[in-house]
C-alpha cells in the first residue's frame, strides 16, 4: 500500500520534474554588430548634450526597502526643489543627468528611469507593489511553491531567476533596456551588479555589454535589478550569456594605453585588463552577484567618470570641454550601524555574530573609503582650479567648475535617539508602513539640511561647505 502511494506520488511529480529539466534563465540576446549609434548609451539619449552646464549625479546605496525608501524621499525633495541659473528657473529633479545605484536603491532608480514622475503617484504601482509591500513574503511564497521546486532542479535556473519573475510581475512587466533607450531621456541609469569572476562592478549599459557581444536592448529591467540586488546565498548568482569575438568589437584606444600603466596607475591598468578579459573566447557566461559586493554605494563608476576620460560618459571630459559649470554629486547612503552588545560580556561572541562581522565589516569600510575618495577627488579638483586660476594667464587656466558634494546618510542626524533609531533599521524587503513614511521624510530632511544643498538652491556657492566640509 505504502509502495503504491509512493509510486503514485512519483508519477504525479514526473511532469513537474521534466518541467524542471526544461527551466533555464532567459538567454541574453546576441549583438550582431557593435554600433556606437545604437543601444543604451549616454551619448544616444536625445537630451545628452543639453543642460549639462548643471550636471547632477545621484548615487543610491544598497539596503533593501530602507535604501529604496530613503532614495525615494530624496527624489521627492528634488522634485520640489528649484535652482535659478542665468535667470532661468530649473527643477532639480529634471536636471538629474545620471543615477548610479546598487541593490535596494536600484528598484527606485530603475522605476524612475522607466516611468518618470509616475513613481510619485500616491498608492501607485511603485508604492503599492514595492515600497509598502511585503516583497519578502512574495519571494518566499514563490520559492516554496512546489512548481518552482521542480524548476529549481535545473542547473541553469536558480532562485535569482524566480526573483527576476517576481520583480517583473510587481514593477517592470517586460520592459527592457530597449524601452529605456527608446525613451531616450535622462537620467542615464547605471544599475550596478558584481562580476563574480573579477570581483568588479558590472554595469547594465551597452558599453559594458559590447565586449560580450550581447545586446542589452533585449535584457529586462527586472533582470538588471535582480542582479543588482542579488544578495549572496539567499539567491543564486544571475547568469548572462556572452558571445565574445562575434560582433566586430574593437576595444577603445585607452585600453592599450591603460595596459602600460601598472606602475604609475594600477587602477587604470586593472580597469583595462578587466575589460579585455570579456573578450576571452572561453568566457561564454558572466555570473553576477549583488552590486554591494563590489561597491555598496554605487559611487565607484561615477568616481571613475570624475577622474578619467576613459568612460564614454566621462564627467572629466565634459569639464575639460567646458560643458559643465556646476557639478553636483548627491550620495544617498542607507548604511546602518548596529551597536554590538557582546563587549559587555567576557564570553566570546558566537558564530552568528562572527560570521555577520566578517561578512559586513569589509563592505562597510570599503563604502566609507569610497565616500572619502569622492571628497578627496573634489578637493583636489577645487585646489587645482584655484592654483591654476592664480597662476595662469586669463583664458589659459583650468575651466572653473563649482563642485557640490552632498551626502545623505543617517549619521548626519544630530538627535542621538533619532540617529540610533535609523541606524538600527533592518535590511529587508518588508518594512512597516510607518517606517517607510519616516524614511521618505528623513531623506528629504537630510537633503535640505545639507549646507551644500542650501548653497545650490540659493545660488550662493559655498566651496567650504561643498568641498572641504564645514562652513
Amino acid at each position: 500500500m505504502r509502495h503504491t502511494a509512493l509510486a503514485w506520488m512519483l508519477v504525479a511529480a514526473m511532469p513537474l520534474m521534466s518541467l524542471g529539466g526544461c527551466a533555464s534563465f532567459p538567454e541574453t540576446p546576441k549583438l550582431e554588430r557593435v554600433d556606437a549609434a545604437s543601444g543604451y548609451r549616454y551619448a544616444n539619449l536625445e537630451d545628452a548634450g543639453s543642460g549639462e552646464d548643471l550636471f547632477v549625479i545621484l548615487t543610491f546605496s544598497g539596503g533593501g526597502t530602507r535604501a529604496a525608501a530613503l532614495s525615494y524621499g530624496v527624489l521627492e525633495t528634488l522634485r520640489d526643489s528649484w535652482v535659478e541659473i542665468d535667470g532661468e528657473r530649473r527643477n532639480l529633479l529634471q536636471e538629474v543627468d545620471v543615477i548610479s545605484s546598487v541593490s535596494g536603491g536600484s528598484f527606485t532608480s530603475a522605476y524612475y528611469a522607466l516611468q518618470g514622475d509616475e513613481i510619485f503617484e500616491p498608492g501607485g504601482r511603485f508604492q503599492a507593489n514595492f515600497l509598502y509591500k511585503n516583497v519578502e513574503a512574495r519571494l518566499k511564497g514563490q520559492l516554496f511553491n512546489p512548481y518552482n521546486w521542480a524548476r529549481l532542479l535545473s542547473p541553469t535556473f536558480g532562485r535569482i531567476d524566480i526573483a527576476d519573475e517576481v520583480y517583473q510581475d510587481l514593477l517592470f512587466d517586460d520592459a527592457d533596456f530597449g524601452d529605456l533607450a527608446a525613451r531616450g531621456r535622462k537620467p542615464f541609469l547605471l544599475i550596478n551588479a558584481t562580476d563574480m569572476a573579477k570581483g568588479a562592478t558590472f554595469t547594465f549599459i551597452q558599453s559594458q555589454f559590447d565586449p560580450l557581444c550581447a545586446d542589452l536592448n533585449g535584457v529586462t529591467l527586472s533582470r538588471a535589478v535582480a542582479a543588482s540586488s542579488n544578495f549572496p546565498i539567499a539567491f543564486t548568482p544571475l547568469t548572462l550569456n556572452s558571445y565574445p569575438g562575434r560582433c566586430d568589437y574593437r576595444e577603445p584606444t585607452w585600453v592599450s594605453s591603460g595596459l602600460r600603466d601598472l606602475d604609475s596607475n594600477p587602477r587604470r591598468y586593472y580597469r583595462a585588463r578587466s575589460l579585455r578579459t570579456y573578450q576571452a573566447p572561453e568566457r561564454r557566461y558572466v555570473h553576477l552577484l549583488d552590486g554591494g559586493v563590489s561597491d555598496n554605494i554605487g559611487l565607484r563608476l561615477p568616481l571613475t567618470a570624475l577622474r578619467s576620460s576613459d568612460l564614454p560618459w566621462s564627467v572629466l571630459t565634459r569639464m575639460n570641454l567646458e560643458q559643465i559649470d556646476k557639478l553636483v554629486v548627491i550620495v544617498v547612503d542607507a548604511k546602518t550601524q548596529q551597536a554590538p552588545d557582546f563587549d559587555t560580556s567576557p564570553r566570546a561572541p558566537g558564530l552568528t555574530k562572527v560570521v555577520s562581522t566578517i561578512s559586513t565589516t569589509p563592505m562597510v569600510n570599503y563604502s566609507f573609503d569610497t565616500v572619502e575618495l569622492l571628497r578627496q577627488a573634489m578637493r583636489t579638483r577645487a585646489d587645482a582650479q584655484r592654483a591654476s586660476r592664480e597662476q595662469a594667464p586669463p583664458g589659459e587656466a583650468m575651466h572653473q567648475v563649482e563642485l557640490y558634494r552632498i551626502y545623505v546618510g543617517f549619521d548626519q542626524l544630530e538627535d542621538e535617539t533619532e540617529r540610533k533609531r535609523y541606524l538600527s533599521l533592518p535590511t529587508t524587503f518588508d518594512l512597516p508602513a510607518e517606517q517607510v513614511d519616516d524614511l521618505r521624510r528623513i531623506g528629504g530632511v537630510l537633503l535640505e539640511r545639507s549646507p551644500c544643498f542650501q548653497s545650490l538652491v540659493t545660488g550662493r556657492y559655498d566651496e567650504m561647505a561643498c568641498v572641504h566640509g564645514g562652513s
Binding site: 577603445p252 604609475s264 596607475n265 587602477r267 572629466l316 571630459t317 569639464m319 575639460n320 570641454l321 585646489d383
Partner: protein
C-alpha cells in the same frame, strides 16, 4: 592620480585623447595619470607631429606638461 596638461596650437582646436575629443587647446586641463595618445581633432590635418604618445605623471596644475603642435601648410 590627477595630472595636468596643456596642448599648444596657434588656434583653438579640440584635443583628442586616446581616440576621443577630450579638451581644448591652449588651456590647462586635467587628465588621469598614465599613458595617453594625444592629437588634435581630425577635421583638419594641418598640424604636426601627427600625435604624441605620452606618459603623464608628476605634473601640477601650476606646472602642467606642455606639448606643442605646429601648424603645417596643407599640400596644395
Amino acid at each position: 592620480m590627477d595630472q595636468y596638461l596643456k596642448v599648444v596650437f596657434p588656434t583653438r582646436r579640440l584635443v583628442w585623447i586616446d581616440g576621443v575629443a577630450a579638451a581644448w587647446t591652449n588651456r590647462v586641463f586635467q587628465v588621469e595619470t598614465g599613458h595617453h595618445i594625444v592629437t588634435l581633432g581630425p577635421s583638419m590635418k594641418n598640424f604636426e607631429p601627427d600625435h604624441f604618445d605620452l606618459h603623464v605623471t608628476g605634473t601640477l596644475p601650476t606646472a602642467p606638461l606642455i606639448i606643442e603642435f605646429t601648424r603645417r601648410d596643407t599640400d596644395a
